[in-house]
Assembly symmetry: C2
Homo-oligomer: 298 residues x 2
């Protein structure tokens, strides 16, 4: 027995796997479950226990994390057959790191509340690099008491952790985050291709502007990858498009027109049609390349 | 006599005045000229000489800077009656810190070249804060030899100085810069109002996301001002709109569609119609407030 709570982690993808690993490495007992067994095996080799279903994870855990692609996935894992709801007991905390529809998050929270399980919507930002290094930004909505109990675990996976407010505000913050990330990625694509076609070395241009008012994470972190010809994720374009769909739905729900994000959403949606869905979100520069009949690296 | 070259500075506005002052403070003889005499008087009190026309400035200077609102202003000051061209002599260098149309910049460069005067297009970014603190980002196009001669002066007014390439590339880099700055400002406005109307504290939301992939200069520098209720420039909205007009013209000239910047340009153009033209560029949040019938600080 350890005095540390047992952590369940369901969804060992590009983000979830390194996050679960960081929790494991800092001494928490960890129980994992994932559709693909390879990631489970890697975690088990480092000391995690494997469970056969979300229900089993919940039975063995005090705090259950999920990190899944989309709303239906989280609903199924939380509320479906052999889901968390069947294994969770009073006092457990459910923490969702996925980015999903507010309506789904509310449904799950209501159902789990009936079993006396608290829910935190804990959206993360910072990409695979942040997940691996344990430097994610974590935006949390939900009850203060549950937040305080999970905070030591958040500190293992993230660097900047903010409790925004009541349930759903983590989701709203993630929407806010994606508005800015999408804007930076698209602007980066536009400015690099303009520089290219206008005969100014795009690499020098990026270098020059990132020390000033244009400074941002995207220029700092993503331009070196793009100039290396690397458009691999990172954060996949189809996830960016999915998140922006949630942003636009949420904005409509609350009566906020988003002219710029609406336009950016269309460009990420194009990536799905153009076979770029599994590239990094910074690869939206490829859409601008197509529009301008240009190639960044030519 | 001093061994330092004499610097002329024409256009002592929000940016030009502190830049001229920093050059003066670092020991260069400075000759100034400005339409409004108040700024001239301030500089003279600190040791600058006043000249009655751009021509007179050029007669007394080795390197002549201009920092003016728009293309016609720079054309008039450089090439018009009593303009720089009438007073400049062979070996002088003309440095334009304004953001103007590439066609104007080319015209001026050609005319001055006939008098053996080199031209640098040295666009700056970093706002009034950067101008005052001498921490501007300077993006320079033009001949290498002229760049090297002016570099010590650039170092007095800026922190990050990059020689991009041949004439015009400073201008292209400034376009690239404005694409990103506009994107950040608009995205900031959209995300703050979404947070507000969705019931998440916008200040906490901004705090939460600025440590992650959304990190950028605008969130770092502008949100504290906005939450203080301060929408004063900084960098005026009508200048942002003017610069974006140049960006869109330049992009069209080089055959680069800019879907996101086109949309952002419309929002800044709205500010001119809405009486927000003299507010800071971050006050574009006011357009989103109007669209969403909301108030950030209510």
């Amino acid at each position: 027995m350890t005095d540390k709570p047992t952590i369940g982690y369901i969804g060992l993808g590009l983000m979830g796997k390194p996050m679960a690993l960081n929790i494991l490495k800092s001494g928490y007992p960890v129980v994992v479950h994932n559709r693909s067994k390879e990631a489970v095996q890697d975690l088990v080799e480092q000391g995690a226990n494997a469970a056969n279903s979300p229900k089993e994870v919940a039975e063995q855990s005090d705090v259950i994390f999920t990190n899944l692609p989309d709303s239906p996935d989280v609903e199924m894992v939380a509320l479906g057959e052999n889901g968390i709801i069947e294994g969770a007991s009073a006092g457990n905390i459910f923490v969702d790191n996925s980015t999903i529809k507010p309506a789904s998050a509310r449904l799950i929270a209501e159902k789990l509340f009936e079993k006396d399980v608290s829910c935190l919507d804990a959206r993360v930002s910072g990409g695979d690099i942040g997940a691996i290094n344990g430097t994610l930004t974590i935006m949390v909505g939900g009850p203060e008491e549950a937040f305080q109990r999970v905070l030591p675990i958040f500190k293992v996976i993230g660097k900047s952790i903010t409790h925004i407010g009541e349930a759903g505000t983590g989701q709203i913050t993630k929407c806010a985050n994606q508005i800015m990330v999408a804007a930076q990625m698209v602007a980066m694509g536009e400015l690099l291709i303009l520089a290219k076609k206008a005969g100014a070395d795009p690499q020098k241009v990026a270098e020059a502007i990132k020390g000033g008012a244009a400074q941002c994470w995207s220029l700092d972190v993503k331009t070196p990858r793009l100039f290396d010809g690397n458009r691999q994720p990172g954060f996949k374009a189809y996830m960016q498009a999915k998140d922006l769909g949630i942003v636009m739905d949420t904005a409509k729900q609350y009566g906020v027109p988003l002219p710029s994000t609406a336009s950016n959403t269309q460009l990420f949606n194009s990536m799905l049609e153009l076979g770029m869905e599994n590239l990094d979100n910074s690869a939206v520069v490829g859409v601008i390349e197509m529009l301008a009949n240009a190639n960044l690296l030519d």
